[in-house]
């Protein structure tokens, strides 16, 4: 039999074909289910929250009344103090973590080499992997007595404690993203500046940071989002008392912590229960806005 007489079968669906199909189907289901889940969660939160928004909610009171007394008779649902709590803690956290993270990113990205650099990157990633309840525990059992002793105040749980803890928690993600932004700056820019006689610092200040500014802004925004959405660590380190703060030692209560602490006790379907979901919608919208802004900022890099 010669080669010419041989029959060929081009349409054969072998084992590889089936494996290929199965894997791509699995991947599709995985991806689709993530989207379905997110939409489902959003729909659920919105449904519960809408019951409050369209029902007993008084918009002006909700945003301007500092009193959150869902179990009083009659109840008041004001989240001004909770927003102030979240804002003050997140604000302080950013004051601490932005310089810290940018400094770390500049050191890791522009100065450190070889082993030092690798070690630092691993350390930063380890820091990011610490569970938030552990951070809360640190706030409660280490920072609290420390603040009481150093500043001679009666209670160490409050804005200062929470701000520091949140700052440390937000730092790793900000450092990682900021370092990526610095790494994305072409080396030819650095070389050009150095060839004109710029020192390492001049290169960083006048060339690298301006060139990376969109990425750095995104890093800060994502850090803000991280701080804003954090729950457990804030719950444990902020003192969790409703307050319009006037000093960094004041105890405050955050929006997220309120949901976490009260949802279990609020009877399903009650106004209280639904009001908590309304706070959830607010958190969702703000986080979404922050992430979207970060995304637009990064994309903006392509233009101009």
């Amino acid at each position: 039999m010669t080669n010419i007489d041989r029959t060929v079968d081009l349409d054969r669906r072998g084992r590889d074909w089936y494996i290929d199909k199965a894997v791509s189907w699995l991947v599709f289901v995985g991806g689709a289910s993530a989207i379905v889940l997110i939409l489902g969660i959003f729909a659920f939160v919105t449904k519960e929250g809408l019951g409050f928004i369209l029902g007993p909610m008084n918009f002006v009171e909700f945003f301007t009344n500092p009193a959150w007394r869902p179990t009083s008779r009659p109840p008041t649902y004001g989240i001004l103090a909770l927003m102030a709590g979240t804002a003050s803690v997140t604000g302080l956290a950013m004051l601490i973590s932005v310089p810290f993270s940018l400094g770390a990113a500049i050191y890791i990205g522009e100065f450190a080499t070889g082993k030092v650099r690798e070690t630092l990157k691993v350390l930063v990633e380890l820091l990011a992997a610490i569970p938030s309840v552990v951070w809360g525990f640190i706030g409660l059992s280490i920072m609290n007595p420390l603040i009481i002793r150093v500043f001679n105040v009666p209670l160490g749980l409050g804005i200062l404690n929470s701000g520091i803890i949140l700052g440390l928690m937000a730092a790793p993600i900000m450092t990682t993203i900021a370092e990526d932004a610095l790494k994305a700056v072409p080396d030819s820019y650095r070389e050009a500046a150095e060839a004109m006689g710029a020192s390492r610092w001049q290169v960083i200040l006048k060339v690298v940071l301006p060139a990376a500014k969109h990425g750095l802004m995104a890093a800060v925004l994502l850090g803000v989002g991280r701080g804003f959405g954090e729950t457990m660590a804030v719950l444990m380190s902020s003192g969790h008392s409703i307050n319009l703060p006037t000093s960094p030692f004041d105890s405050v209560r955050a929006l997220t912590a309120t949901i976490a602490a009260e949802l279990g006790e609020a009877p399903g379907g009650s106004d209280h229960f639904r009001a908590l979901f309304t706070i959830g919608i607010l958190l969702f919208l703000v986080t979404f806005a922050i992430n979207l802004t970060a995304d637009i900022v990064v994309r903006g890099k392509g233009k101009r």
Binding site: S188, A192, M196, A198, S199, V207
Partner: protein, 263 residues
């Protein structure tokens, strides 16, 4: 001896016995090169023979690679030993400007690009906006770019045409009045028309600046230089007046190269 010192005075760059290693790989072997003040010298040779390496040793930009690069021998720029420990690279690079193969303007405005080196090196003195404008106009006029960009000084320099970018990269060196300009294949990213424009410009700069230019283009070396040096495999093979080197090369390897018998 007296003769040697007067001769040294006329030299902008004096490379003596320079060997260079990238790690364990030796890229330069005992290279000598004398470049006269105010002249244009072309550095030619096949790919990988060490032209860029030699050029990058003169302004010590090779040091960016850290201790991985090791250099021996001496390089004098205007009679200063630039490899000496106490030489400040920033000062050296003010005196010795560099133009790269790919135009590399900074991602800043045209104006800020021209003023970049100037702002790095002006010490203490205050400059008014008008004085700075004057500096910008003079530098851009010298490179024949002023008319093209004068209404567009705030435009981001990386959006200019490649030809304009490369001219800008020359213009930004001029405000600090370097004595030497090193050019590493400055036209290889440009089209023929732009190449011709750049060559003309380089020719115009002769006399005011000492120029050491690396090129792969024989015609360019012949057109645009007074002296030519030929390198091969990390060694300096021959160096002389351009016409003579091309018409009557002393070394057989030089003859082979200019007749196109190497890559």
């Amino acid at each position: 001896m007296a003769d040697a010192t007067t001769a040294a005075k006329d030299l902008a760059i004096d490379v003596r016995g320079v060997s260079l290693w990238y790690g364990t790989f030796q890229a330069l072997y005992e290279v000598n090169l004398e470049v006269k003040r105010g002249s244009i010298t072309a550095l030619i040779g096949p790919s990988g023979c060490g032209k860029s390496t030699l050029l990058r040793s003169v302004n010590r930009i090779n040091e960016r690679l850290g201790s991985y690069v090791r250099t021996t021998g001496s390089i004098h720029v205007l009679q200063h030993d630039v490899l000496a420990e106490d030489v400040e690279p920033a000062r050296l690079r003010k005196e010795v400007g560099m133009v790269f193969q790919r135009p590399n303007p900074l991602p800043l405005s045209v104006r800020d690009n021209v003023l970049f080196a100037h702002k790095l090196h002006r010490t203490g003195q205050r400059y008014t906006r008008a004085q700075e404008d004057g500096i910008v106009e003079e530098a851009l006029s010298t490179v024949l770019l002023w008319d093209e960009v004068k209404d567009d000084l705030d435009r981001k320099a990386t959006t200019l045409s490649l030809e304009a970018q490369q001219k800008l990269c020359i213009a930004r060196l001029l405000p600090v009045k370097p004595s030497v300009i090193l050019m590493d294949e400055p036209t290889s990213a440009l089209d023929p028309a732009a190449t011709e424009a750049l060559e003309e410009l380089i020719w115009e700069l002769r006399g005011d600046y000492t120029i050491l230019i690396v090129t792969h283009n024989m015609a360019q070396a012949r057109r645009a230089s007074e002296e030519t040096a030929f390198m091969l495999l990390g060694r300096m093979v021959e160096h002389g007046p351009t016409e003579e080197l091309f018409l009557r090369p002393h070394d057989q390897q030089t003859a082979d190269y200019i007749e196109g018998r190497y890559g």
